[in-house]
Symmetry: C2
Subunit: 199 residues, 2 copies
C-alpha cells in the first residue's frame, strides 16, 4: 500500500524497466504522465510505436535508418573510400557530432566477447567483409571502444582485413582508456581521429 | 545531420519533453527502445495508454485512483476523523511510505500562487470544505510544503477551517525549509507529524 492507485504503480514499474531510470524517477514520470493532457500521452505512445515500426537497419552500413540505404551511405559529399567501424549506432551519432569525419560508417552492433558468448557471427562482420570486397574502400578505421572487448574486436577485424591489402587504422589513444566512445567530447574524438595509427 | 535516422531523433525529442529527461538521456533511451524487442515497446505504449485512460480522481480525497472512492478512503482501518491536506498525489505516496499517519488525505492539486495566477478556485478547496461540513472530521493537518506558497496556502485554509470549530494543525518544522515533501526521508516526515502544532 503506497498511497497511490494501481495505475500509478503499474506505469512506474514499466518506466522503471528503462535503462538509467530508477524507481524514484519512474514514479515522478508516472505522476507527470498521469496528470498530463491525455493527448500528450497518446502522442508519446504513438511516437514509440511508429518509430519502433519505422526503424530499419541500413543494408550497407547496418546503422539505424528509415530509408535504405541510409542518408549517410547515400551522401555523395562523403568520402566512400574510408570506412569507420563502430560498435553501436550511438557511436555514429557521437562521431557525427564531433564533425571531423567525412567518410562512411559500419555498425557492428556489439563486440566480440567470448565470456558473454558473443562471437563474430553475432556481429555484422560478414556484411563488412562483403562491403570491403567491392574494392571501393581503401582505409578501414577500427573505432571500437578503448576497453578490452573493443581492443579484442579491433584486433580480430584487423587480422581479417589486412590480407585484403587495405590500410587498417585504430583510433589514437586520445580516448580515456576504459571509456565508451559515447561519453567522449567532440575535441577528444577529433584528436583521436587525427592521431590514428596503422595497425 | 546527427548521424542517426529520423525515427531516433523523433523519439529522442519526444522523450526529452518528459521532466528530468535531458537530451543525452533521451537519446540513450531512444537507442535502447529502438533496439529493444518490439513487444517491449508495444507493452510500454499499451501501459501508457491504459493507465492514463484508467486514472480517475477520487470523489472524496481527490487523489489518483482507479476505483471511486479510492482504496484509502474505503479503508475502515484508517482514522476517518483526521484529515491530512497535501498539495499533490506524490505527497500522499511520501507520507504513506513514512507509514506513521493512519488518517485520510485530501489532495489540493497545487498551491495558491497569485504570481502564477492560481487561486483557491483552481484547487480542490470546495470539495475539502464540503467534506468537513459532513462533521466526521475533527482535525485537519495542513501538510502543504514548507515554502512560501505552501505556507500561504496553509494560512488561507486555516482561516477557512478554524471557524468550523475544527482543530487545525501544520506539520512541524522538522522539514527543511524550502524543501518539497516529496524529497523528505520517512523519519523526517514522521518527526514532522509527531511535532505538529495547532495553528
Amino acid at each position: 500500500m503506497l498511497g497511490f492507485a494501481g495505475p500509478v504503480a503499474r506505469l512506474a514499474e514499466e518506466l522503471g524497466k528503462l535503462p538509467g531510470i530508477g524507481p524514484k524517477t519512474a514514479q515522478r514520470l508516472a505522476f507527470y504522465l498521469l496528470k498530463a493532457d491525455p493527448a500528450v500521452v497518446q502522442n508519446l505512445a504513438r511516437v514509440l510505436l511508429e518509430t519502433r515500426e519505422a526503424i530499419r537497419y541500413c543494408s550497407r552500413c547496418c546503422n539505424f535508418t528509415d530509408t535504405d540505404p541510409c542518408s549517410l551511405c547515400r551522401d555523395p559529399q562523403r568520402d566512400h573510400t574510408i570506412l569507420c567501424v563502430v560498435e553501436e549506432p550511438r557511436d555514429v551519432a557521437a562521431l557525427e557530432k564531433a564533425g571531423s569525419f567525412r567518410g562512411l560508417y559500419h555498425v557492428l552492433h556489439g563486440t566480440i566477447s567470448p565470456l558473454e558468448g558473443r562471437g563474430p557471427e553475432d556481429l555484422t562482420v560478414r556484411a563488412l567483409l562483403a562491403r570491403l570486397e567491392k574494392g571501393e574502400v581503401r582505409e578501414v578505421i577500427l573505432a571500437t571502444g578503448a576497453d578490452v572487448e573493443g581492443d579484442a574486436t579491433a584486433l580480430y577485424l584487423a587480422r581479417l582485413i589486412k590480407p585484403l591489402g587495405l590500410k587498417v587504422t585504430r583510433l589514437a589513444h586520445g580516448l580515456p582508456v576504459g571509456a565508451d566512445l559515447e561519453y567522449a567530447d567532440g575535441l577528444t574524438l577529433s584528436r583521436a581521429l587525427e592521431g590514428r595509427q596503422e595497425v
